[in-house]
């Protein structure tokens, strides 16, 4: 077992490396990607096993009114299984998926075959739990289809046998070429401005500039990385509370000086937790009223009061500090006074008598010019300098060169 420090260093390095590469590495592998102007596409398809052991093939084409939506089962934060949409690229042979097709209007029913108004046919297997027809308006299951009904079709828990990602015909460097997509090929639609966005093959329109290449997988794992970040950040709060509890608990047990503040800390934590319990209750209930009282009447008032005191400290600090001792100090004071008064209604009140013709000399307009022009220039320079320092500091954190807690 490695020491906790080594584990921390390794996790920090890997997480940092992922975030850097996520920014640097494009979604498709450089060197193996093809860029061109799309002409035509041949649709992707996939074959699934059906209960009668006859494989069924589905085309993934945008102009198909019954284009299947591919769904996979995932557990949500409440612990419930739900179906979430996925793409053909993210499934493969052996994957278990649910296909949703429609809504469509039934034209005729002939045994297990449903003919839709658009001319497409849907095969169902009566008696099989894997096939289901739904009323999209109510979400209720329909036992049998009748002409004129608007329905949605679902095939559940189907095992994928094969996938065909399709192909695209495009103009690449002035030459016409046909590109067969690989199972992990990513199709990026490029725009004149901004970054490219991933689209499905059937979303490519003739004339689109596309880049197609093998997946670098960084973009696919962004949500997982965001959740990892979320978990770590949330854990930090728990650790902070635990650490505060340890420190204050020791102070209380050993009756060190200020022990009553530690007792107050535990009282505040209990009050906060009690208030949190009723936070999501319906308005009007006692628990919700108690929560709102603690949050709005106590915590909000206390924090507002503390923050308001800053105004008084800032007033005395400004009085003591703003003294014209040098030419630069005079310049700073004059611009500060203009910006201060220009941001209040007194700015307009004092100078608007000059009329629209001389509106450039109104105090609010002079204040705005100071903020928009000299301030912007100075701030940009400052940010460049600060970011250089931040970059160096970030590098030290990433490589665990900074001192860690307990060192």
């Amino acid at each position: 077992m490695k020491s906790p420090r080594t584990v921390t260093i390794a996790v920090t390095f890997v997480a940092g490396l992922y975030f850097i590469l996520d920014f640097v590495v494009p979604p498709t592998l450089p060197g193996l990607s093809t860029r061109g102007v799309a002409l035509t596409t041949s649709p992707a398809s996939f074959t699934v096993e059906v209960p009668s052991n006859r494989p069924a093939t589905y085309l993934v084409a945008k102009d198909d009114p019954l284009r299947p939506q591919i769904l996979v089962a995932q557990r949500d934060v409440m612990g419930q299984i739900k179906l979430v949409p996925t793409t053909l690229r993210q499934i493969g042979p052996g994957s278990v998926v649910t296909m949703r097709r429609g809504p469509f209007e039934v034209k005729a029913v002939n045994g297990p075959t449903i003919l839709t108004q658009s001319g497409a046919t849907i095969q169902v297997e009566p008696g099989s739990g894997s096939f289901a027809l739904y009323d999209p308006a109510t979400g209720r299951r329909v036992r049998s289809a009748t002409a004129g009904q608007t329905l949605q079709f679902e095939q559940r828990d189907a095992k994928v046998l094969t996938t065909d990602p399709g192909s695209i015909e495009l103009i690449e460097n002035g030459r016409r070429a046909t590109l067969k997509l690989g199972r992990q090929s990513v199709v990026m639609k490029l725009s004149r401005y901004g970054a490219g966005t991933e689209i499905q093959l059937d979303g490519v329109r003739p004339g689109d500039t596309v880049q197609i290449g093998p997946n670098t997988y960084f973009a696919d794992n962004r949500d997982a990385a965001a959740q990892f970040n979320l978990v770590i950040t949330t854990m930090a709060f728990g650790i902070g509370l635990f650490s505060l509890g340890m420190v204050n608990g020791q102070t209380l047990v050993k009756r060190r000086s200020g022990w009553y503040l530690s007792a107050f800390f535990f009282g505040a934590v209990i009050l906060g937790v009690a208030a949190g319990i009723g936070k999501y209750d319906d308005p009007g209930t006692k628990a919700r009223a108690f929560s709102d009282f603690v949050v709005v009447q106590i915590i909000a008032s206390v924090t507002s009061t503390v923050f308001s005191l800053l105004a008084f400290y800032m007033a005395t600090a400004a009085y003591r500090v703003f003294r014209v001792r040098t030419g630069e100090a005079a310049l700073m004071m004059v611009s500060a006074l203009i910006v201060m008064i220009g941001q209040t209604p007194f700015g307009s009140y004092l100078t608007s008598w000059m009329g629209e013709r001389y509106s450039s000399f109104w105090l609010p307009n002079i204040a705005a010019w100071i903020l928009r022009v000299p301030n912007t220039g100075v701030f940009r320079g400052l940010v460049f300098g600060v970011m250089m320092g931040a970059f160096a500091t970030a590098l030290r954190y990433w490589l665990s060169m900074e001192r860690m807690a307990g060192d």
């Binding site: 975030f19 949500d76 934060v77 409440m78 739900k82 725009s191 901004g194 970054a195 966005t197 962004r222 949500d223 965001a226 959740q227 970040n229 979320l230 770590i232 950040t233 949330t234 936070k279 999501y280 709005v296 909000a300 008032s301 924090t303 507002s304 503390v306 923050f307 308001s308 105004a311 008084f312 800032m314 007033a315 005395t316 400004a318 009085y319 003591r320 703003f322 003294r323 014209v324 004071m333 006074l337 201060m340 008064i341 941001q343 209040t344 209604p345 700015g347 307009s348 009140y349 608007s352 109104w362 609010p364 307009n365 705005a368 903020l371 928009r372 301030n375 912007t376 701030f379 940010v383």
Partner: protein, 296 residues
């Protein structure tokens, strides 16, 4: 100038801080007791923010990141209520969420949402949804842009965001493409919103920030990365003025804080400016007094 006058003026250099506190308190309290109305100059940044929101087309939703809490409510409260009033007056649906904020943030926002909803006859779930709090910026911002319901699987009252019977608005909120613009209302909104929420840079982003941090955002307005900026209580008061001009009597400004707080703020600023000037007069008088003594 006589020695006596110089001596009197020199005292202005060391005014006791309690005197400053008293003057500031009285100056800020007077407008609460005596109603005073002052003319407002609408800044370009506030007007741009207003125009961006006004142009929201039907079928689109405005996203509001409301991460402020009671500490900065003096500035963020009037800003947030002005934005919410605008959305409700224009029948623009909105989703509100907080990222890396105090756990109180969704509750603070909801107090305003529900009060404004009563005025304009809006219904929770159909006209707005409060998605609650999440953490982990800036990566979470990118995740919201890719899939709102993956990050916010429930609203702030733990109703599933896929329960369209209770939250019909969520049917049309999937990714950043369903947003018309993002408002970030906070003491110091996170600039990562500009970079991460919509990496293509197409989504207009508007900030509402505290006055003291506003100089850091002007460079992003001039570069076009921010489409508007509402600065402090002044910005909120200007926004209310624009709402009044646009919607006339339909705009219910009872209890809105922008115009109420701008006057005490202006008086407070005047007192601070007066003391700064007094301090400098005192310093100049003491210097002259010292020079006169040295010459003798």
């Amino acid at each position: 100038m006589t020695d006596r006058t110089l001596k009197s003026l020199a005292r202005l250099e060391v005014i006791p801080r309690r005197t400053i506190y008293l003057f500031l308190f009285v100056a800020c309290a007077i407008p609460f007791l005596v109603p005073i109305r002052l003319p407002l100059h609408i800044w370009k940044e506030t007007r741009s923010a207003f125009d961006v929101t006004s142009k929201c087309p039907p079928g689109k939703v405005i996203a509001i990141s409301s991460s402020w809490v009671s500490g900065s409510q003096g500035e963020n409260w009037p800003q947030y209520e002005a934005v919410v009033a605008h959305c409700m007056l224009s029948n623009i649906p909105f989703v509100v969420f907080a990222v890396d904020a105090d756990p109180m943030a969704p509750q603070m926002a909801e107090i305003i949402n529900q009060r404004e909803a009563k005025r304009y006859g809006k219904v929770y779930g159909r006209d707005w949804v409060n998605l609650g709090l999440t953490r982990g910026a800036p990566l979470t911002m990118g995740a919201i842009g890719r899939s709102v319901k993956t990050v916010f699987q429930t609203d702030f009252q733990h109703t599933s965001t896929e329960d369209y019977a209770k939250l019909p608005l969520m049917k049309q909120v999937r990714t950043v493409r369903d947003f018309y613009c993002l408002w970030a209302v906070d003491y110091q909104p996170d600039l990562n919103w500009v970079v991460f929420l919509d990496p293509t840079g197409n989504l207009p982003v508007v900030f509402a920030c505290a006055g003291i941090v506003s100089p850091t955002f002007y460079s992003y307005v001039s570069s076009g990365q921010l489409k508007g900026l509402m600065v402090g209580t002044r910005g909120a008061a200007e926004y209310e003025e624009l709402l009044r001009d646009t919607y006339g009597k339909r705009f219910d400004d009872r209890d809105l804080r922008g115009n109420k707080l701008i006057v005490p703020l202006a008086f407070g600023h005047l007192v601070i400016i007066a003391f700064i000037v007094a301090g400098n007069i005192g310093m100049a008088a003491r210097r002259r007094q010292k020079a006169a003594e040295d010459n003798r």
